[in-house]
Symmetry: C2
Subunit: 215 residues, 2 copies
């Protein structure tokens, strides 16, 4: 199995790798040893050609006629996605979305450890969310360093999100997931992803409007 | 401008159309009249070729050298995505995620009107969330019909999500957005999308592990 050439992976491929990863975990639980590109494609509503193309990225993998070895492929994808290590995450803002994220058990399962929670509301600072004490956002620079934070999730209202993100970056965080519905402007060295809850609803609206989706 | 051939749009393209749509709204607010594929690509960290390919879907559009007309392109994408009409949405489950979604102002802005909220917790039924009274989930079939619900958002715990989804489908809902971290099995006629909060974190993990993303 050759070393993957990461520079060639597109964002859409990474997204599909996350999807294959979940499918493979399910398949392992269902005691599958191997899976064909056809079967995997069918489960995830993709084409077999797309699956083969995405997985060809891992070099020659799988045996023609036998399919891909489920456990091994899962491990390889986990390595590529960086899921074989623990990531220390700081959550900024414990409103409704923030509270939901603290309770979201999938994060810890995939190695995303919410280690710090910040807010600037005096009524929230010091309170306990799932065993984590809410810290004062003023202390972010000190705590990001001492707790070795890798990523931050921003879950503050839209009108304060840019100022919040600027402080998070100044504190030394290099990867941010933004839940606020605005486009953050950040320095080029910061990795930024945004979670817009509307986009998935727009997929539904598209499908209902047009009666068909292909991929 | 020719009629788009919807059958050819892939899921990744739909996703990017949602992204272009947001970029165009921002550009309009910034008083842009036209935008080049190069500029649009740069804003969204895509390649100009990708942008041109995606937008070629709308037939010949834009004038070589002048770029795409911002307002017109925004309107065309809104039509394609089904954002020019109002969609009636039922929210199932008002735990943390459900409560966050009720407060998410972007939904209404894009035409997604949360019209009904359901729960099966007697303490929640009858309570008021942002002006909407929580209904008993037992009454879903009756209310979906009378309130002309187009889509449902499932925000219940993973272990009850499949049973909940089955009842939602039985009530006549044909499009579901699932927030529970499980793979729902639904009849083929139902349009299903899942929002997994982990996937965006995995993009960050990938980028931090591999030092580069291209698209």
């Amino acid at each position: 199995m050759s070393k993957p050439t990461n520079k060639k992976i597109s964002e859409s491929t990474i997204h599909r790798l996350s999807i294959y990863y979940r499918a493979l975990v399910t398949l392992e639980n269902e005691h599958y040893k191997t899976i064909s590109s056809k079967e995997l494609a069918k489960r995830e509503k993709l084409t077999p050609a797309q699956v083969r193309k995405d997985l060809s990225f891992f070099g020659s993998f799988g045996t023609r006629g036998l399919g891909y070895p489920v456990a091994e492929l899962r491990n390889r994808i986990a390595e590529i996605l960086g899921l074989t290590r623990l990531w220390n995450v700081a959550l900024i803002g414990v409103g409704n979305i923030g509270s939901a994220l603290v309770s979201y058990k999938e994060f810890a399962k995939q190695g995303f450890n919410i280690k710090l929670i910040f807010d600037n509301d005096q009524r929230k600072i010091g309170s306990n969310h799932k065993g984590i004490k809410v810290s004062d956002f003023k202390d972010i620079a000190k705590l990001v360093a001492s707790e070795k934070i890798d990523m931050a999730i921003i879950a503050v209202p839209a009108h304060t999100a840019q100022a919040t993100a600027d402080e998070v970056v100044a504190a030394g965080v290099k990867a941010i997931l933004n839940f606020a519905p605005i486009n953050l402007k950040l320095p080029a060295h910061v990795i930024l992803r945004s979670q817009n809850m509307c986009i998935e609803l727009e997929h539904l609206a598209f499908a209902m409007t047009n009666d068909v989706i292909s991929d």
